[in-house]
């Protein structure tokens, strides 16, 4: 008993020491979500730190995507969903009635599991957000935003000669990078990614992962993934969800080498899930 306490204390100290100094960008405080009568998330406390990649892992149906969708209020689009607790972005409650959800989503962008380019040209796909939010005063500025976004998404070289072709004509990996470019074009502060590589082949996955690592310079990223290797490769912090509860959260290297919770241990070694 005594030994156990000592061990967990030691771990806590270790965790505190490993924690880098980046400020907290988003914070979830006792977040609960109900879909109709079914509770999907139970009192989750999780911090997302600036310019870091936070990976959410856990078996299917554990609530990690639900939590992700709370961060830019995409759960609002589901009629039966009710969100409780408090989520802040730069210490501002995003569920405050004074907050405009449209503005929030411009600050917290999202990339989805399946690439979902609009049935428009590549250019129009990227220009969609800037047009809606009036980010460009004229065509030249818009052109610049589109080019920069495509460059940041590492798609410029492949797409620059076919900007007027439909975005749906790209390959799966290119489509996903187009969706990332589309999200970047709105100049968000946080980018949420919901299993962005699950529909991609390994080569496209590698490109997107490389891109995520580069994007960390300028953005805060939260990524949901089913791939342990991906979480280990791209994230600095990892949060493990199970059955709607946050099991544990910490620096990725610690989570993968020396997790506190047996369930995390079992999950990352593939013994359940």
């Amino acid at each position: 008993m005594n030994i156990m306490t000592e061990k967990s204390l030691e771990d806590a100290v270790n965790a505190e020491m490993n924690r880098p100094n980046e400020p907290i960008k988003m914070r979830g405080d006792q977040v609960t979500v109900h879909y109709g009568d079914k509770q999907a998330l139970f009192g989750v406390n999780l911090d997302v730190r600036q310019n870091q990649v936070t990976a959410l892992i856990g078996p299917s149906g554990c609530g990690k995507s639900t939590f992700l969708r709370c961060l830019n209020r995409m759960n609002d689009t589901i009629d039966s969903a009710r969100v409780g607790g408090k989520i802040t972005l730069d210490s501002e409650d995003i569920y405050d009635p004074k907050i405009d959800v449209v503005e929030l989503r411009a600050r917290v962008g999202m990339v989805f599991q399946k690439p979902n380019p609009f049935p428009k040209s590549i250019y129009e796909n990227v220009a969609y957000g800037p047009r809606i939010h009036g980010l460009a005063k004229n065509k030249a500025e818009l052109d610049e935003i589109v080019e920069k976004s495509l460059q940041k998404a590492a798609l410029w070289n492949e797409a620059k000669d076919r900007l007027n072709e439909p975005g749906t004509g790209l390959s799966g990996g290119q489509q996903q990078r187009l969706c990332i470019a589309r999200a970047i074009a709105v100049a968000p502060e946080v980018i949420l990614m919901d299993e962005p590589c699950s529909a991609l082949d390994p080569i496209a996955t590698a490109k997107v992962e490389e891109l995520i690592d580069e994007l960390r310079e300028n953005y805060t990223i939260v990524i949901v993934t089913h791939s342990m290797q991906q979480a280990a490769r791209v994230s600095q912090r990892t949060a493990m969800f199970h059955l709607g509860y946050l099991v544990e959260e910490g620096p990725t290297d610690k989570m993968f080498t020396n997790p506190d919770d047996k369930r995390t241990q079992d999950y990352i070694t593939g013994r359940f899930g």
Partner: protein, 488 residues
């Protein structure tokens, strides 16, 4: 024996064969060999081998027998029948047939002592509730009695033969039951053929309709040149008494076509925006509870018979618009009670549910990922609808509008009552105009001979309309199909 009774007997024997066959297959299954098909398949096969030949025979015989009876009656009619009071031999044969079917109601005693004259017979039949044309002649009575005897004999033969067929077929089917018999495959094949037959029937009917119109249309164009019909700007068919000669009249299609398209255009102008907006509301905004009420309510509009819309236009909207215009212009109304505007408005209301229901399905079919993608970028709902969902659904919506347009072009009753029957060629929406469909009804409901251009023109109009809507439907289906491929 009546046709229905024979059919029932055939079916009953077939069902017995089914029961026996199933029993037999079960009895054969002694566990040594694994049966190929389950017992009820053997039963159904015995049923089908019995019933199919009998039913086919019944159908063939029914057609053949009525043709035979017809020629029998024609042969019995006197050669100079057309010179008498009855205008045509076919008419005489028709009278005989109705007389014969009337005489079926009489009891055997009356039939044995059949009166010689129609004057005596008529009250007897009238007592049984049979009303006959006064043209019926005395000489037709024995012919009708003979026809009844012949048809009784034919009925007897058909009953015996078809019951014989079902018996032979069933016994044959039953005798073929073995444990390894492939009954399931045969039954499946029969199912396939009957389904194929059902779908072919619809296509054949369409071809039949087109052909029946085509022959009459050719007859029309033998009398009136093609150019006069397709490029004529005056519609004046001159209803003249048969055989009185004189001018043929003018059969210009242009005023009717213009009226058809004009009224359809006004109707679409009303129906498309309103229908589309209600579709957007229902698919994007309405809560499930609201949608559950509003959608059926809107579709209820589609269930109202068009004649009711027509009455509404005739007695309410038309006079209302005329009075309003009279008040605006100070005395003389500039909107006629029957006008393109009235017809278009009412038809537009009728078409709202068509547009909204079709577009609702199409908008709902736009993948959720598109909405999420747009909302996730911080677009509002209406921005998402305007810039992502409607463009994505546009080809489908265009298809829906074209389908609606062919409904508008084919509409008749509303136009008759709301826009009138005057074939004007005008651009003024406040005047009366008429459509192709209205004129088809007009030309066919006169008391005219069937071989005059005045009547035959209806078929030329019909086939023009058919071609018009067919092309629109093909274009619509092509667009809708092309759109469907986009997300796969």
């Amino acid at each position: 024996m009546s046709f229905l009774l024979v059919f029932a007997i055939v079916l009953a024997i077939g069902l017995i064969a089914f029961a026996v066959g199933r029993q037999r297959a079960r009895a054969q299954d002694d566990g040594t060999v694994k049966p190929h098909s389950r017992a009820h398949y053997h039963g159904w096969l015995a049923f089908l081998t019995g019933v199919i030949p009998a039913v086919l025979f019944l159908a063939a015989w029914d057609i053949g027998a009525s043709a035979y009876l017809n020629s029998h009656i024609h042969a019995a009619l006197p050669a100079d029948v057309a010179d008498g009071t009855v205008a045509h031999e076919d008419l005489a044969a028709g009278l005989v047939k109705s007389l014969a079917s009337g005489m079926r109601r009489l009891d055997s005693q009356t039939l044995a002592a059949l009166p010689q004259t129609f004057a005596e017979l008529q009250p007897m039949l009238a007592a049984k509730g049979v009303a006959l044309a006064p043209d019926t002649q005395d000489y037709m009575i024995p012919i009708a009695a003979d026809a009844n005897r012949v048809s009784d004999r034919l009925d007897m033969i058909v009953a015996v033969v078809s019951i014989g067929l079902v018996l032979i077929g069933s016994v044959y089917g039953l005798s073929r039951i073995t444990p390894r018999g492939r009954a399931r495959n045969h039954v499946e094949k029969v199912m396939l053929w009957s389904l194929l037959g059902a779908s072919t029937l619809a296509i054949l009917t369409t071809i039949g309709i087109v052909l029946s119109m085509l022959f009459q249309t050719i007859a029309f164009f033998e009398k009136i040149p093609l150019t006069n019909f397709f490029f004529g700007t005056v519609w004046d068919p001159r209803f003249a008494a048969a055989g009185s000669g004189g001018a043929e009249g003018q059969f210009g299609l242009i005023p009717l076509l213009a009226g058809t398209l004009y009224i359809a255009f006004v109707a679409l102008l009303v129906a498309v925006p309103i229908g589309l907006m209600s579709a957007v509301y229902m698919s994007e905004y309405a809560a499930p509870k609201v949608r559950a009420v509003v959608k059926p309510a809107l579709e209820l509009l589609a269930g109202i018979p068009t004649i009711v819309y027509g009455i509404f236009a005739l007695v309410t909207l038309g006079p209302f618009l005329r009075d309003i215009s009279a008040a605006l212009a100070g005395g003389t109304p500039f909107i006629q009670a029957q006008s393109i505007l009235t017809a278009g408005l009412v038809m537009g209301v009728m078409l709202i549910p068509v547009v909204s229901s079709l577009s609702d399905d199409i908008i709902t079919a736009v993948p959720r990922a598109m909405r999420d993608g747009s909302l996730g970028l911080g677009a509002t709902r209406s921005e998402t609808i305007k810039r992502v969902i409607l463009p994505a659904a546009l080809p489908g919506i265009v298809g829906a509008i074209l389908l609606t347009a062919s409904r508008a072009i084919g509409e008749t009753m509303i136009v008759v009552l709301a826009a009138g029957v005057a074939a004007n060629l005008t651009l003024n929406p406040f005047e009366a105009m008429t459509t192709i469909t209205v004129k088809i009804v007009n030309q066919l409901t006169g008391d005219l001979e069937f071989n005059t251009p005045q009547t035959l023109v209806a078929f030329a109009l019909g086939i023009t309309l058919f071609a018009l809507t067919l092309v629109m439907n093909i274009v619509a289906l092509y667009i809708v199909r092309k759109y469907r491929e986009q997300y796969e």
